[in-house]
Symmetry: D2
Subunit: 154 residues, 4 copies
C-alpha cells in the first residue's frame, strides 16, 4: 500500500475535508466504530463533496438525473480505533479521473495529531440508474472536478 | 395526541434544536426516510442535547460513569415524508422531569415553513449499565436541566 | 396500554411469528439492542408476513406496483433488554383492518419463557409511491388478510 | 485479483454458506443494496461461522472472553447489483491462518447461476477488547478451524 499512501499524501493539499463526531449509533458492543459504519460516514462525505465541493446537487443527480455513483472496488486499511465521542476529520482526494469512473482516496483521521484511523481507496463509476450500466461522467461534474484543482495532473 | 402537541407548542420556547440534512443513507427504496432512521437521528439529537445543551459529557456518561439512557416508551406520529437532500430541523423539549425518568418531545420539521415531518414523545430512564436497572437521574444532569430553563414548571 | 396488550393476547392465536437471533450489528455500546434496530427487525417481519404469510410479493408491491406501506403512527413499549446472541421470536397480529390503513401489533419476546422484550402498536397506510398519498388496501392483500384468519372480527 | 479469485474457487469445497434474502432495509434509493450493508451482512456470516461452523460461542467470545475480531484490511469488488427480494448466498472461506490474524474470502452470489455479486478479501485480527491490541487466536478457535478442514494447507 506504499504507493496508495504516498498518493494520499501527495494529494492532501487538494483534500476535501469535513469534521464528524463519532456517535453512539456508530459504535458496536466493543464501544468502537462498527467498521461498516465508516463506509456510511464516507458515503456522506462523497455526498458533501459533490454538493458543496463541486456545487452539483447530489440528490437531484440521483433522483432527477438518475445518475448513480456505485462503488465497484475498494481497498480499506483500518489502523486505529475510533471511540464514541471522538471528533474526527474525514478527507477525500481524487487519485484518478477516468471517463466513466474515478478513484477516490477517503480517510478518517484525528485532526490534531493527524493520526490515521482508516483509509479507503475506492473506485466509483457513474451509472444510469435505469440500466445500472456505466455512463460517461456528466460534463458538469467533470468540469467541476477539473476546475476544483482536485484532479491529478495527467 | 392533542395534549402532547399542545405541550410541544408550549415548550417550544425552550426547545433544543439542531439542523440535519437528510442523506442518501437515511433513505429507503421509496426515496424517503426509512422511519427507523428518524430514531437514529433523534438519538443523535439527545446526544447533542446532553453534551452541548446540558454540558455533560454523554460519552463519558456511558463509557465511564456507566449510566445508560434507554427508551422505555415512545409514541410517534409521522405526518409528512422527508426526502433525500431535505434540510430539516430536529427539536427536543422536556415535557416531564421525574426522579429516574423523563419525558422528551422530539420532532423533525421543515425549518422555513415549520411543517412537521414527525414527532415522538419518548420516556427515557437513567439506568446502571451494569444491572440495566433504573437509577436516580445523576445530580449534575438534573441540575443542568433545571438551570437550562427547559424543565416544565411543577 | 392495557387494551393493546389484551388485544395482543386475544389475537395471539393468529400471530405470524419468525425467529431472529440478536446480532452483534444490532447492539450498541451498552451491549444491548439499539432500540431503532427493533424497528428494522420488525420491518423485516412485516416483509415476511406480506410475502410468506399473505403470499403477496412484497418487493414487487413496492418496485412494480408502486404501493408503499409507510407507518403513520406507532406506540412502543420496551420492557426488557435483548442482548447479543439472544434467540428471540418476533410476532405480528392484525388489530384493525381499515380501508386504507391497518393497525398491527408487533412484538419481540423470549420464546421459552414468553418474556416480552418490546411491543409496538403500529398504524400502517397503503400509499401510492408516486404521490405518497393513501390509497385503498389492494384487493389481493385485503383478501389474503381476511382468508388468513388474522383479521379481527368486526 | 486473479489470485484471490483463484483462491476462492480453490477453497470453495470448504466454504461455509448461508442463504440471505435482500431486504427493504438493505436497499438504498436506487433500489439496490447500499454497499456498506454488504459488510453488515458479511459480519453476520462471520458470526454464524464462528458460532455454527466452529462451534464457538461468538457472543461469549466478545462479551465474556473479551476477544474482538476487528478487520484491519479489506479488498472488495462489487460485480453485479443485488435488488430487494433477491435470494442470495453468502460464503466464507479461510485463505490464510496466521498466529494473530487470518484472511477470509467472503462473497455474495446468486445461488442458482453462481453469479458473483460481490467478494471481499478481509484480514481480521484477534484482539483484547480491553487494550484493543492483537492477541493470539484462541486455542479453541484455531483447533476448530483446523479440524473443520477449512484451513489452507501450509
Amino acid at each position: 500500500m506504499a504507493s496508495a499512501e504516498g498518493q494520499a499524501q501527495a494529494t492532501s493539499a487538494a483534500e476535501f475535508q469535513r469534521p464528524r463526531m463519532i456517535r453512539f449509533s456508530d459504535c458496536d458492543p466493543a464501544g468502537i466504530v462498527f467498521y461498516p459504519q465508516y463506509f456510511v460516514m464516507l458515503n456522506g462525505l462523497v455526498e458533501d463533496w459533490v454538493s458543496e465541493g463541486l456545487g452539483i446537487d447530489y440528490h437531484a443527480l440521483i433522483s432527477e438525473r438518475r445518475i448513480g455513483l456505485p462503488t465497484v472496488r475498494l481497498e480499506a486499511d483500518f489502523r486505529a480505533v475510533s471511540r464514541m465521542g471522538d471528533h474526527v476529520s474525514l478527507g477525500l482526494a481524487v487519485e484518478r479521473l477516468g471517463s466513466r469512473s474515478m478513484t477516490l482516496v477517503l480517510r478518517c483521521f484525528e485532526p490534531d495529531s493527524g493520526e490515521l484511523r482508516m483509509q479507503v481507496k475506492q473506485v466509483i463509476v457513474t451509472t444510469s440508474l435505469e440500466s445500472h450500466r456505466a455512463v460517461e461522467i456528466p460534463h458538469d461534474m467533470r468540469a467541476a472536478i477539473l476546475s476544483s484543482g482536485m484532479a491529478p495532473r495527467a
